[in-house]
Point group: C2
Chain length 357, copies 2
DNA sequence: CTGAAAGCGCTTACAG
DNA sequence: CTGAAAGCGCTTACAG
């Protein structure tokens, strides 16, 4: 004998009563409940998850799918760790378990997700690394699984998502650079990638248009999502005809490579080239000159994501909040030295002077 | 009707036969199996995980517990993402699922783990962030749960662990620095933390002893596990009486803060102070002067961990390998410029010259 | 307040 | 090769 049956027989009561005592049902004698709780504690008993889930028709756990492929995993750094903690802080209060599901490099994200969905391993999902066209969203909607997407997609409609406010970041960056006299502003945009890159690109175009500046495809630099990507794109950036005087990086860690290559070339960020990076990151804090970037709370983002999930779970709805959440997560400018100069009108071109020809 | 019963009734056969067909049992008519497979595919059917686990008495999933607290999470960077991918590459071949279980900052790791263990949510566990005394190991051994520890502990005995070869790294670092004429070699060791820090400290002492060098507690700098920790400890490092000429960093990212502070002080790593960092990391590659560190494959480490888990799972043992794996994962020196100088005998002291008094 | 019993959706000896 | 049935360990109406 094992499990609840063993507990019950030791106590000389029925498994039903044990179950009710353990689950905090009100119709249990106080003394009985105390005995049950004590015995469970003493014997290290906890209900078997599979049996419990089967009986209750719910798993009480939320899946959080992340991708391990280099393109998005490099982006992970401490990003997801911070978000997990925020998510957990909410879920724990509701007795829900967070299961992080890492999709391997060589697996198809759609099929990876499908397994968990079809097998009903989780009650709800959080997905990330959203693609422009992302069939995972169609799948989740078709199956009626509650989910929140950390990132937007053009797939589906009326689903909950929370995404970093790329538009805000790009707009503020471009406004700031234009105000400093820049006209030739480059951006780094990985060619293939998550929808985030598309949004970044589109925001860039519209921000330029708002300022009456022409869109020059040559200023959109294809770059790998990594420190190394930042290093490797530097020469291409500087080789663009009518050399750009500023660059906005889609991924913060690219700044490390960019800075290094600029230094090797004798070009000084913040004097010869304005640089704005994306998200404030501990590893960036020690760059010199300090990098202008945008900060946000990973923890709070996680909290918001978890709350958006709860809003879809019957029995966990805290407030009469709308079940569908769609929001861009605000990011706040953290001015640094890397773009702290104004371009004199007459020299607004070819201000970048490499040490050697 | 739903699930396998629905599938069976649509096909006009029993659920038993459907189950056998789906599970690849040999005693099923080929045509029947084909019909079942086709229907399952078409209807997007997959067996309910809870019911299946309950019936089989196994979950076919492996938990990987990580901790989100700042001390270890900062260390996580891309470390765990790389390891997960290696683990997955092995588990997928065995039809096992990897569930990452992130222990929240404000939760007790022991109780967090206990829930999953007592509820039989997973068939085996991988734990990390091992403490010197770590009751999780006692718990897992007492319950007879197969597990592998990514890191050693003084708790328990005869369990499987794989740990980075701290001893090797420290020995090689000290040998190298001593060969370059250094006698006053500092190390950064967080005061409270995982067992890793204890091992680092102990290795340092024994390496010094091997060279007949005295152990000076003042050379053991208490440092936070972060980039900022590296920045903040720099002044204390330089203020140690009979100033050290070299430092070995326990956590690679500390180098970012250290470099920055040294630069502010006009002190040049690799000329005025020898620096050796721990693990090779993309973010370090762009430091100038380049940092001497140790490289390893996160993916291969993950593979080894997964194989150590499989060795304990009946039915998954690939080779007649010993069930208990205990190994230090080798790390290979990647020489950089940060320690590429030899101390002249006569100036082996007070070689560090700050710009200002 | 408690017990007996059905049921959650599977898998698997056991017959045939 | 297939079906009927028991059983996995819980939870929860339903009686009493």
């Amino acid at each position: 004998m094992k499990g609840i049956a063993k507990l019950a027989s030791e106590l000389g009561i029925s498994t039903g009563t044990v179950s009710r005592a353990l689950n905090g049902k009100s119709d249990v004698n106080a003394a009985t409940r105390a005995r049950v709780l004590e015995a469970a504690q003493r014997m290290g008993y906890a209900p078997n998850a599979s049996a419990r889930n089967l009986a209750k028709g719910a798993t009480n756990s939320i899946g959080f799918m992340i991708e391990l492929n280099p393109e998005t995993a490099s982006n992970s750094d401490n990003f997801f760790m911070g978000v997990f903690d925020g998510v957990q802080s909410v879920l724990m209060q509701h007795g829900l378990e967070l299961l992080v599901l890492p999709c391997p490099t060589d697996a198809d994200p759609y099929h990876y997700l499908q397994r968990f969905v079809a097998r009903e391993t989780v009650d709800a999902m959080i997905i990330s690394a959203t693609q422009r066209i992302d069939h995972r969203i169609d799948l989740l909607q078709a199956r009626g699984i509650p989910f929140v997407s950390l990132g937007r997609s053009e797939s589906g409609a009326g689903y909950s998502w929370i995404d970093l406010d790329v538009e805000g970041v790009v707009n503020e960056s471009i406004d700031r650079l234009v105000a400093h006299g820049h006209r030739r502003i480059a951006v780094t945009v990985p060619r293939r990638g998550i929808n985030f890159a598309e949004l970044f690109h589109a925001s860039y175009r519209s921000a330029l248009a708002r300022h009456g500046l022409p869109y020059d495809p040559a200023l959109v630099i294809d770059t790998a999502w990594s420190e190394l990507g930042g290093y490797e794109m530097t020469d291409r950036l500087l080789a663009v005809p009518d050399r750009p005087t500023a660059v906005v990086l889609i991924y913060e860690m690219m700044a490390l490579g960019l800075y290094r290559r600029l230094m090797e070339l004798g070009i000084q960020p913040g004097r010869d080239l304005a640089v704005i990076t994306f998200r404030d990151e501990p590893a960036l804090r020690f760059l010199s000159p300090s990098a202008t970037c945008f900060r946000m709370s990973l923890h709070d983002l996680g909290v918001a994501v978890a709350e958006a999930v709860l809003a879809q779970l019957p029995g966990h709805r805290t407030s009469p909040a709308a079940p569908v959440v769609q929001m861009r997560w605000p990011m706040v400018l953290r001015p640094g030295e890397s773009d702290a100069f104004t371009l004199p009108p007459e020299t607004s071109r070819s201000r970048v002077k490499p040490r050697s020809a």
